[in-house]
C-alpha cells in the first residue's frame, strides 16, 4: 500500500514548502504510517506508591487521506479519535511511526512555514470556546485574513461580508460578539473563520453535534455545498453514522486506539465486515425498528487491554483464536480493509442480524427468521 519510494523524491526541502497544488497533487494530503501514540500515566500501586504505566492511545494506525477525499472518523469516546487528530495537526508527535503531510513529517512542515496552518483549517468541537469572547464576529473572521496577509486592510470588510454570506449569516451579525449568537450561528462563524484562509483541507471535530436537528441539517447542507464548491478535502470526526453517511464518501471506524475498518461509507454501513461496525450500525436509532440488543459492557480501559483482539471482550462472534493475537488491518473487498480474524461477509450484513438478538431492522420488515437476506 505504502511505497516508500514515491515519497522520497519530494522530500527535497526546496519543493516541499511551496504551494501544495503543483506536482504534489498525486501525493496523499495526509498519511499516517503505523502511528503509535503512548502516554505515560502514573497510578496508585499500594500505600504511598505509584507506578508508571504506558497507555497506547493510538496503536498501529494507518490512514491515507487523498486530495479531495471526504473521510469520516467514527468511534465512541475513548477510541482515540481526538488523539489521532492531534497527531495529524502536529500538536502531538507520534511515539512511533510517521505522520506525513504531503510526504513530509507534519512536525517539520509546521515548523518550516505558515503554509500548513493556512492550508489545513480546523473546526473545533466546542465552537463557542474556540472563539475569543472579546472579539466581534468581523474581527474573528478578519484575523486569519490579516495574519496570512491575504488582503489589505481596506479590503477586509468586503471579504468578511462575503464569507458571512457564504456560510449563510446575515451581514448585521458582523458587529456582534459570540455571546450574542445562537449555537448554530456560532458554528457558522467558526466555519467562516476556518474558510477565511482559503484552506485545501478542512478538519472538523464533531462540528454538528449537540445541535437541534433543523440546525444540524442546515449546517450539513452548508458543509456539503462548501466541499463541492471549493473542492475541499474533508476529515470529519463524528460519532453519528448518519452524519458520516451524509457527508463522507469514506469511513474509518476506530475502537480503543485502532482503526478496525475502513472503506467506502455506503459499502461499510450496508454490510459491515467488523463486528464492532455492525454493533455501531445497529445501535443507531432507526424509525420504528425495535431497539436492538446493544453491545454488552463498556469500552475497556486502555491501561488493561485484553489480550489478542481488543474487541474480543464485547464481541458476540468471538472465537478462541481471537484472544491469542491481535488482528491487523487487511483488505477484505475492493477499497475495504478490516482488522478481524473472522470478518463478517455480505451474507451476515446488518439488515439480517446474526447477533444473538431477536431484532428486526426495517429492511427485512417482519421476517426475523430470514437471516441471510441482503437488501443491497
Amino acid at each position: 500500500m505504502t511505497k516508500p519510494g514515491t515519497a522520497a523524491p519530494a522530500a527535497s526541502p526546496a519543493q516541499g514548502t511551496n504551494a501544495p497544488g503543483t506536482g504534489a497533487s498525486d501525493r496523499p494530503v495526509f498519511e499516517l504510517l503505523d502511528v503509535e501514540k503512548r502516554f505515560t500515566v502514573s497510578r496508585p500501586a499500594g500505600f504511598l506508591k505509584r507506578e508508571k504505566r504506558s497507555l497506547a492511545a493510538l496503536d498501529g494506525v494507518r490512514l491515507t487521506v487523498r486530495r479531495g477525499a471526504s473521510i469520516a472518523l467514527v468511534g465512541e469516546s475513548g477510541s482515540g479519535k481526538s488523539t489521532l487528530l492531534r497527531v495529524l495537526l502536529g500538536l502531538a508527535e507520534p511515539s512511533d511511526g510517521k505522520a506525513l503531510y504531503l510526504g513530509q513529517p507534519v512536525k517539520e512542515v509546521r515548523a518550516k512555514s505558515r503554509d500548513f496552518a493556512r492550508s489545513v483549517a480546523m473546526i473545533y468541537q466546542d465552537a463557542r470556546a474556540s472563539l475569543d469572547p472579546r472579539m466581534t464576529v468581523s474581527a474573528l473572521i478578519a484575523e486569519p485574513l490579516l495574519h496570512f496577509g491575504l488582503c489589505g486592510r481596506e479590503a477586509v470588510g468586503e471579504r468578511v461580508a462575503a464569507l458571512l454570506t457564504r456560510v449563510g449569516l446575515p451581514a448585521e451579525i458582523a458587529g456582534r460578539y459570540p455571546a450574542a449568537l445562537s449555537g448554530g450561528q456560532v458554528r457558522r462563524v467558526a466555519i467562516a473563520r476556518a474558510l477565511a484562509a482559503e484552506p485545501t483541507v478542512l478538519i472538523a471535530d464533531e462540528a454538528v453535534s449537540g445541535l437541534d436537528v433543523s440546525t444540524q441539517a442546515q449546517l450539513l447542507n452548508l458543509l456539503r455545498g462548501l466541499k463541492r464548491e471549493m473542492g475541499l478535502t474533508l476529515l470529519f470526526i463524528t460519532h453519528d453514522l448518519g452524519v458520516a453517511s451524509y457527508l463522507c464518501e469514506e469511513i474509518a471506524i476506530m475502537y480503543l486506539g485502532r482503526i478496525v475498518e475502513t472503506g467506502p461509507t455506503d459499502a461499510v454501513l450496508s454490510a459491515p465486515a467488523h463486528p464492532y461496525s455492525l454493533a455501531l450500525r445497529r445501535a443507531a436509532p432507526e424509525f420504528f425498528a425495535p431497539i436492538t440488543d446493544p453491545l454488552e459492557g463498556e469500552i475497556p480501559s486502555p491501561l488493561d487491554l485484553p489480550p489478542g483482539c481488543r474487541f474480543a471482550t464485547r464481541c458476540p462472534f468471538v472465537e478462541d483464536d481471537c484472544r491469542s493475537a491481535e488482528p491487523i488491518l487487511a483488505p477484505v473487498a475492493r477499497g475495504r480493509t478490516v482488522a478481524c480474524r473472522h470478518p463478517l461477509n455480505a451474507e451476515d450484513s446488518p439488515v439480517s442480524p446474526q447477533m444473538p438478538a431477536p431484532a428486526v431492522t426495517h429492511a427485512v420488515g417482519s421476517r426475523p427468521g430470514e437471516g441471510a437476506e441482503v437488501s443491497a
Binding site: E76, D212, V213, S214, Q218, A283, F287, P294, E298
Partner: protein
C-alpha cells in the same frame, strides 16, 4: 391492557394516570409554555419532542414540582391519579409524591449525583427517607437495585463516588435511584444525550424494561424522533411552548399532519439519507413570537390568519392537531 400496580389498583381504570390541561408558564415577559395539554395512561410511554426552547424539559420539571413559585407564574391544571391539582400543590403535598410516586432521571447524571456521597450512600438515604427502611435493610435493597440496573460488582460500586464511574454507569445509578420507590410515573429528561450510541441503546432498553416490569408510566424528553418512535407509544410534538401535534407515535411519525412535525422528521438523518430539507432560520425569540401559531414565521403552509389567531388543539381520529392548514390526510 397493562396490569396496574398492586398498590393503586382501585383508583379507577378509566381515568388516565396523568392529565395536563392548558399548562402555561411565564418567566418575566416570556411565556415558556403556552397552553400545553397531554394525557398519559397507566403503563404508557410518552415522548416529548421538539427543538431546544420547545419547553420539553420545563414540562418535566413542572411534573416533578421543581418550578420555584417565585421564579415563574404557572397556570393550568395537572391531575395525577387522585391528586386533583399538582399546580396548586404545596410543598408538603409534593413531599409525598416526589421521589416516591413520581421520579425523575436527569439529563446529566454526572451533575445530578452528589459528588460528595458514595453511590451507596445516595441510594441508602433515598430508601431510608422515603420508605423508612433500616440502615441494613436499605443497604441490602440498594445492592439489589444496583444489580437490577446491570451494574457488575455491585457490592464494590456501593462505596464508589460518582466520579469514579463512567457516564453510562452514572446513568444506571440515576435510574436505580429513580426506581428505588417503585414510582408510578418516571420522567426521563434526555437520559442518553451525553452517552455513546451503544450505551444509549443499553440505557433506553434498561428504562423500558424496568418500567414495564413495574407497570409504571414514563414521560421521555427526547430530541431524536427516531429514538422516540422506537421507545414510546405516544408522542407530543412541541414548538416554542405550544403543542403542535400529539397522539400515537407510529401514526404521527409515519404520516405527520402538522407541517412542523413533517419538517422535524425531514431533518432526521438516517444512514443513507440523500437530502435534507430543513426549515430556514431558527426559533424566534419570545419578543418576536406571532400572536397566533408560534411556528407561523417558519411554516411553509402559513396562512395570514395563522399569525393572528391561535389554532385550537383539536381531535382528529386518535391524534390531536393544532393547525389551520395541515398536510393532506394520507
Amino acid at each position: 391492557m397493562t396490569a396496574p400496580d398492586a398498590h393503586q389498583a382501585a383508583a379507577g381504570d378509566a381515568l388516565p394516570l396523568l392529565a395536563v390541561e392548558g399548562l402555561t408558564l411565564e418567566r418575566g415577559p416570556s411565556r415558556i409554555l403556552d397552553g400545553v395539554s397531554l394525557t398519559l395512561g397507566r403503563g404508557e410511554t410518552l415522548a416529548l419532542v421538539g427543538e431546544s426552547g420547545a419547553g420539553k424539559s420545563t414540562i418535566a420539571f413542572a411534573l416533578m414540582g421543581l418550578i420555584g413559585k417565585g421564579e415563574a407564574k404557572i397556570a393550568g391544571r395537572m391531575r395525577f391519579d387522585e391528586v386533583e391539582d399538582l399546580v396548586s400543590l404545596n410543598e408538603r403535598g409534593w413531599g409525598r409524591l416526589r421521589g416516591r410516586r413520581i421520579a425523575m432521571v436527569f439529563q446529566d447524571a454526572g451533575a445530578a449525583l452528589d459528588p460528595c456521597y458514595t453511590v451507596g450512600g445516595q441510594l441508602v438515604s433515598v430508601l431510608r427517607r422515603q420508605l423508612g427502611l433500616s440502615r441494613a435493610k436499605a443497604r441490602e435493597r440498594a445492592l439489589e437495585l444496583l444489580e437490577g440496573v446491570g451494574i457488575n460488582d455491585a457490592e464494590a460500586r456501593l462505596s464508589a463516588y460518582p466520579h469514579e464511574l463512567s457516564g453510562g454507569m452514572q446513568q444506571r445509578v440515576m435510574v436505580a435511584i429513580a426506581l428505588a420507590c417503585n414510582p408510578e410515573l418516571l420522567l426521563a429528561d434526555e437520559p442518553t444525550s451525553a452517552l455513546d450510541v451503544t450505551i444509549q441503546a443499553q440505557i433506553i432498553r434498561l428504562i423500558l424494561t424496568e418500567i414495564r416490569a413495574r407497570g409504571a408510566s414514563c414521560v421521555f424528553v427526547l430530541h431524536d424522533l427516531a429514538l422516540a418512535s422506537q421507545s414510546c407509544d405516544k408522542i407530543v410534538v412541541l414548538y416554542a411552548g405550544q403543542v403542535m401535534e400529539a397522539g400515537p407515535s407510529r401514526g404521527i411519525l409515519e404520516h405527520p399532519r402538522h407541517p412542523y412535525t413533517r419538517l422535524l422528521k425531514s431533518c432526521v438523518l438516517e444512514i443513507g439519507t440523500e437530502t435534507l430539507d430543513p426549515p430556514e432560520g431558527g426559533v424566534p425569540s419570545y419578543g418576536d413570537m406571532p400572536a397566533g401559531c408560534r411556528f407561523a414565521t417558519r411554516c411553509p403552509n402559513a396562512l395570514p390568519r395563522c399569525f393572528a389567531e391561535r389554532p385550537v388543539l383539536a381531535a382528529e381520529g386518535e391524534r390531536l392537531i393544532a393547525c389551520f392548514n395541515p398536510e393532506p390526510r394520507q
